[in-house]
């Protein structure tokens, strides 16, 4: 297989934006192409990750819309949808186009415009990523899905919500250093505990926000990578896995099997293991999700991820910094953009260009993007290149 690399990476600021869906996608796409030192004529294919523009902004058929707005020259354009993993799924699709030799230069954009939708309606749209017949129809919301996981985790391992507080405080602390983050303000344990109850035991500060934003990367193959302005950041491994949509159809609800399997596939392909990873951008859509992720990815044993968060092991100066960007929790979660944004942050960290939040000595970065409660997971591992 050809070796695939990232030669351009960019994102918009995440948060409540005045920009439209297409303006956000164009801003990220143009900046990524500029970073790679190419114009629109060099792009051979567009893959767009986006969850639900049809309901959020009454617009489907968005891939050719964005391709046209970017001035791409009649290139094939394709949208991917895998709920909150739509972005990383777009990256996987782009990687396959290059691996197959179909294209040499693929632009991958992830985008969502969510804040123009009232919060109740947005909650309904997000619940469509759960199993409608057996979950959403019965009144389960997405915070509710992860609340069920959090309650089961705390019961199984004898933990209280201190671990959730630690994840939220750490995320917002990291967001302070990230100019792209929706929230750039530190919070305290008291803030977390005093925030509104959303789905017991999850409070407002346990939840990632509703966000607008876009992220983009220029993908190419190593055999042609010397034609670009920036050195290639290689994808050393990647893996994707699926599972039942409904949480209650899984025997174990304190881990996400698809994340375990996707990461094992990525580690095997990269020829490295969890101990080699320098930083990880994981899918912390809720505080409990980050704790479960750090166990599923092999950084900590099952039942010990919460204690690791409390003891600071996942902090920027910890043994395995998790979400130095602030994560979905503080950086924001414009659904289709999140998975691409994790890769953009990893590229910045591997280049040593993550100003204000740079972790020292980053050799390997891992990204973990989850759809629904774990029915889709995509894990990628990037290296420094030469």
């Amino acid at each position: 297989m050809r070796e695939m690399v990232v030669v351009g990476a960019a994102e918009t600021k995440f948060g409540r934006s005045e920009s439209s869906y297409r303006e956000l996608a164009v801003e990220a796409g143009r900046k990524a192409m500029a970073d790679a030192g190419i114009d629109a004529g060099r792009v051979e294919s567009l893959v767009l990750g986006s969850f639900s523009p049809g309901t959020f902004i009454n617009q489907e058929h968005v891939a050719p819309l964005v391709a046209s707005e970017l001035g791409l020259d009649h290139v094939p354009s394709t949208r991917t949808e895998n709920a909150c993993a739509s972005g990383a799924t777009a990256v996987m699709t782009g990687l396959m186009q290059i691996a197959a030799g179909m294209h040499d230069v693929v632009l991958v954009v992830g985008v969502e415009k969510m804040t123009s939708t009232p919060i109740g309606e947005a909650t309904s749209i997000l619940a469509e990523a759960a199993d409608w017949e057996s979950e959403a129809k019965a009144g389960l919301t997405f915070p509710g899905v992860y609340a069920l996981m959090a309650r089961a985790y705390m019961h199984q391992y004898g933990k209280d919500r201190s671990m959730l507080d630690a994840v939220a405080v750490k995320a917002h602390g990291n967001g302070v250093g990230n100019p792209y983050a929706q929230f750039q303000k530190a919070i305290t344990v008291e803030d977390v505990r005093g925030s509104m109850m959303i789905a017991d035991p999850l409070n407002l500060y346990d939840c990632s926000p509703i966000s607008d934003g876009a992220a983009a990367i220029v993908l190419t193959a190593k055999d042609v990578a010397d034609q670009f302005a920036r050195p290639g950041i290689p994808f050393l491994g990647f893996g994707q896995a699926s599972d039942a949509l409904a949480l209650h159809e899984r025997d174990n609800i304190t881990s996400i099997p698809a994340a375990q399997i996707a990461s094992q596939r990525a580690y095997k392909m990269a020829g490295i293991g969890p101990d080699d990873i320098s930083i990880a951008e994981v899918h912390d859509c809720f505080t409990i999700a980050e704790i479960v992720a750090t166990e599923d990815l092999g950084f900590f044993e099952p039942g010990t991820g919460g204690d690791a968060a409390i003891s600071g092991k996942t902090g920027r100066d910890g043994t395995i910094p998790i979400n130095p960007s602030g994560g979905l929790k503080a950086k924001g979660h414009p659904v289709g953009a999140s998975g691409v944004g994790q890769i953009v942050e990893s590229v910045f960290q591997l280049r040593g260009e993550a100003e204000g939040r740079q972790v020292d000595g980053v050799n390997y970065a891992l990204t973990h993007n989850v759809g629904g409660s774990g029915a889709t997971c995509v894990v990628t591992i990037l290296g420094r290149g030469e």
Binding site: G120, E121, T123, S124, A127, E133, S134, E135, A136, K137, A138, G139, L140, T141, P143, G144, A147, L148, M149, R151, A152, H155, M196, M197, I198, A199, D200, P201, L202, A246, L247, H248, E249, I253
Partner: protein, 78 residues
Amino acid sequence: MGTTVREGTTGKIVSFTVINVATPEFADQAPYGLAIIQISGGGRVLARIKDGTAETLSMDAPVIFDHNDDHGPVFRLS
């Protein structure tokens, strides 16, 4: 595929939550208790628990089918 529940179906709570912020469709019911129920005899369902609150619900609590409505089955603590 789905597990069938009917009059007399019993089970126990595997995990639960109380939804405070609901979708518009459920706004008039919030807050309401939801649980994953291990059905006696096999299978799991997700269902609302009648009068389920953070105070009344607990892990492993026994429940029994109460009624069906437009949104599916409702259980109660037994």
